[in-house]
């Protein structure tokens, strides 16, 4: 802690030096009855009009007031119009407030400073979610503004037990991190652990929730063990289930802990649509998951090792299709899958205006022409296209990439060992998934370990009035979410 000097002019000079005489450091000295009042703010992050309207005006008003108080500091504190006003007495806190868009007022003969909120609107407004689009449900999504994000949750959950625990991370960025949970529902053990892990972080900068995610996981895995979403309704749902949500300043993506595998097969829409139809949709998602992981591998295994399993007519037609293709099946599959992945990656990175051209090149040139030229067989294109479409069902990009990695593992296993390879690696995969655990919650819960009561909302989705309890594997406090009605 560094004491604030009792000379306003000197303080202004000190701040300017601290910022290396950057031009956006603005200051003004107003003399009231022989005492200097220093006003400092950063033109870049503060709203200059707010500073003039409320602070300069207020100060000058105090100056002209005949009933002048002995203590100018107290007078200013009481007379300035602003909802956010703090008193600080540590010079080291200056940069944080200045960079956040606050204005600092210092007075001669006082070792305290007044800090007032004069932030400029540097972030966009609340817009529709682009990464998790839905048909039914609220459309808003989180933004880069920390307080707006918290507000979007408060707006939904008006219970005062919705608590935010704030800490600052990043030696240079001083990013605000808020841990949100509902007191009385969330497991305090889990909260304590999360806070411990966050407190251990000593890093120069936290720019995104992705920066801190790895610190919150104990076991390494290619699958994300923390669900990340930009939808306030998903976060609110998670909070009501007893989960703990981490907000990071300047990042629209929140982290939800603990996350289990089945969460990736759910969407927020599931809760809003008819339960019976959702069960069907979820079964489709599970099928899509199996297809997207195994199809290329199974195709390789049965066409190169176990031809006996293919029906006669199909085998003949496959054999004729492969006639003249110069590459082995495995190479063909890997080639096409890689091309698709590159297309997907470049589609994300390229500006919108170019995506039309890219889809033409991708579909016509690479798909059609490759088949016509005899580089790949048509069935391979079908297999890879089908696999890729199925993988697009999942919105979480990390989850999708995890699946992709395992798909390649299975392709290699199948090309060396056939069906046996797929089976043995499937067992390894299951073991790896089952061994994952975070915050005392197993990744495959509620299937392994099996919770009978939680099966009402896993793949099967019961009607809303049947979902009486909260998931037990997340928190056992306050287990009932609704009264049983007749």
């Amino acid at each position: 802690m560094e004491k604030i000097e009792k000379n306003a002019k000197k303080i202004v000079q000190k701040v300017k030096t601290l910022y290396g005489n950057s031009p956006d450091v603005n200051s003004r000295i107003i003399n009231i009855k022989g005492k200097n009042v220093g006003i400092i703010f950063l033109e870049s992050s503060a709203q200059a009009s707010t500073v003039s309207d409320f602070i300069i005006k207020g100060t000058l008003y105090t100056k002209e007031n005949k009933n002048i108080f002995q203590n100018i500091f107290e007078a200013l504190k009481n007379n300035l119009f602003n909802s956010q006003l703090f008193i600080i007495n540590d010079f080291n806190e200056f940069p944080y407030y200045l960079s956040s868009g606050f204005t600092i007022i210092t007075v001669d003969d006082s070792d305290k400073a007044i800090v007032m909120e004069t932030r400029a609107q540097l972030d966009r407004g609340v817009t529709e979610s682009s990464s998790e689009p839905i048909l039914r449900g609220s459309k808003d999504s989180f933004t880069e503004s920390h307080s707006k994000n918290l507000g979007l949750i408060r707006k939904r959950i008006k219970d005062p037990n919705l608590w935010f625990d704030e800490l600052k991370l990043g030696r240079r960025t001083k990013t605000r991190i808020s841990i949100a949970y509902i007191n009385g529902i969330a497991d305090p053990q889990k909260f304590k652990k999360i806070k411990e892990r966050l407190n251990k972080i000593d890093i120069d900068g936290v720019l995104d929730s992705g920066n801190i995610r790895d610190y919150l996981i104990k076991q390494k895995s290619i699958f994300p063990q923390i669900h990340s979403t930009e939808r306030p309704d998903v976060v609110s749902q998670a909070l009501l289930e007893g989960k703990i949500v981490i907000f990071v300043e300047n990042c629209p993506f929140t982290l939800i802990l603990p996350t289990v595998f089945i969460d990736y097969l759910h969407t927020s829409e599931d809760e809003y649509q008819k339960a019976g139809n959702i069960t069907f949709t979820r079964v489709l998602r599970v099928i899509a998951l199996i297809i997207t992981v195994f199809t290329p591998a199974i195709y390789i295994a049965i066409t190169t090792y176990d031809q006996n399993t293919i029906p006669d007519k199909l085998l003949i037609s496959l054999a004729i299709q492969r006639e003249g293709v110069p590459f082995p099946t495995t190479f063909e599959i890997i080639l096409l899958t890689a091309i698709f992945e590159i297309l997907r990656e470049s589609d994300i990175r390229s500006p919108n205006s170019m995506s039309a051209a890219m889809s033409i090149v991708g579909a016509l040139v690479l798909g059609q022409a490759a088949v016509d030229a005899g580089i790949v067989s048509p069935i391979t294109v079908i297999v890879v296209a089908f696999t890729s479409i199925c993988s697009l069902i999942f919105t979480d990009i990390d989850f999708m990439n995890g699946i992709r990695a395992w798909r390649f593992i299975f392709i290699l296993a199948a090309s060396f060992l056939g069906i046996i390879g797929i089976l043995s690696f499937a067992i390894i995969w299951l073991i790896k998934l089952a061994s994952l655990e975070n915050l005392n919650t197993s990744f495959l819960a509620p299937f392994a370990p099996f919770y009978k009561e939680e099966q009402l909302n896993t793949i099967y989705h019961a009607e809303e009035d049947k979902l009486i309890t909260r998931p037990k594997y997340i928190s056992t406090l306050n287990p009932h979410r609704q009264r049983r009605t007749k």
Partner: protein, 389 residues
Amino acid sequence: MKKIILILLITITLTGCAGYKELNNLSIVTAVAFDKKEDNYELSFLIANSPKAQTSSKEGEAKTTVYSSEGKTIAEAAKKIEQIVPKELYLGHINVVIISEDIAKEGFLKIADWLIRNPQTRKKFYLLEAKDVSAKNILKIVSPLESFPSQSIATLIESNSESKAVATSVTYSNFISQILEEGIEPVLPSITIKGSVKKGSNEKNLETTEPDTFLALGPLAIFKNDKLKGFTKEEESWAINIIKNEAKETNTNVKYKNEDISIEASNLKSKIKIKDTQNIEINISGTGNIYNINNIDIEDYKEIEKIEKAWNKELKEKLNKTIKKIQEKYKSDIFGFGNKIYKQDPKTWEKIKKNWNDVYFPNLNVKINTNLNINKTGSLNKTIKGEKS
């Protein structure tokens, strides 16, 4: 991690790529024919995936290819085919196996041994007996309705055995089990060519609305042990299938009041009851549906009852006749009466086993009880003439 890599390396290097086959390096054999040429065996393979299949629209070009070769043994002939076929022969998808009369008369087990020893072949293909023509020629005939000859034979058999009761579908595995089982002799459906082979093997055969040449299923071939004894007549094969409980539906004709009435029999069931080693009872039940009738007033319930009686009588006579003929002419227990005795009384069977086919079976008293009911008269309740009045 090091351990995992080690395990992976071991599994990969140990198994190698032993079973690895690319599809385009395979010649998929879908049908096999066995013939005898003087002292040699002639083996023919029907290969389905010739690249020509892609451009099958070309005039006069067959989609499939038949390769054949001769050899002292079947294995030798097979090896010779491998020398002329540029790709690896793949026998995992054999659909149909056709054997010629010569080979069947000599005994089937020689061929069976090769088929069963080959690890690639599956044991569920249809087995047929070529009647009057060589087995190889049957592979050559192209059918207008199916793209591959083997497929056309397979569908022909399947549809026939299910509804028409003329042929039975005999797969390789149940043929072998009938050879090996006690007290039952195998039968095989036969197949023959109607028309000229030369025209039938040309793709032009597909372009006419009335194909010159086509494949037809013939009567059943009767075996004793593994050797061909002879062919039945069509009506007899029909009777055999009813007795063996393999026909569920069939079309029958009844002569009643000088008119041939056509009745579709369905839900046919046959139960063989063993009384003792001399007496056997067969109970046949089923329902009938009148398909074709012209002059008889079937609104009268009593008329239907009379038709029913005539139907029962005629069927009984036909079945009796067939059983008699097989008992006397072939002396081969294709119905499996002996098998029933063996299952009921294995000790007695041990004593009569040796002479069963030659002594006991021909002298068996077979009593047939039929219980057939006509319960439907199609979509009409009367005859068309009756509707008028």
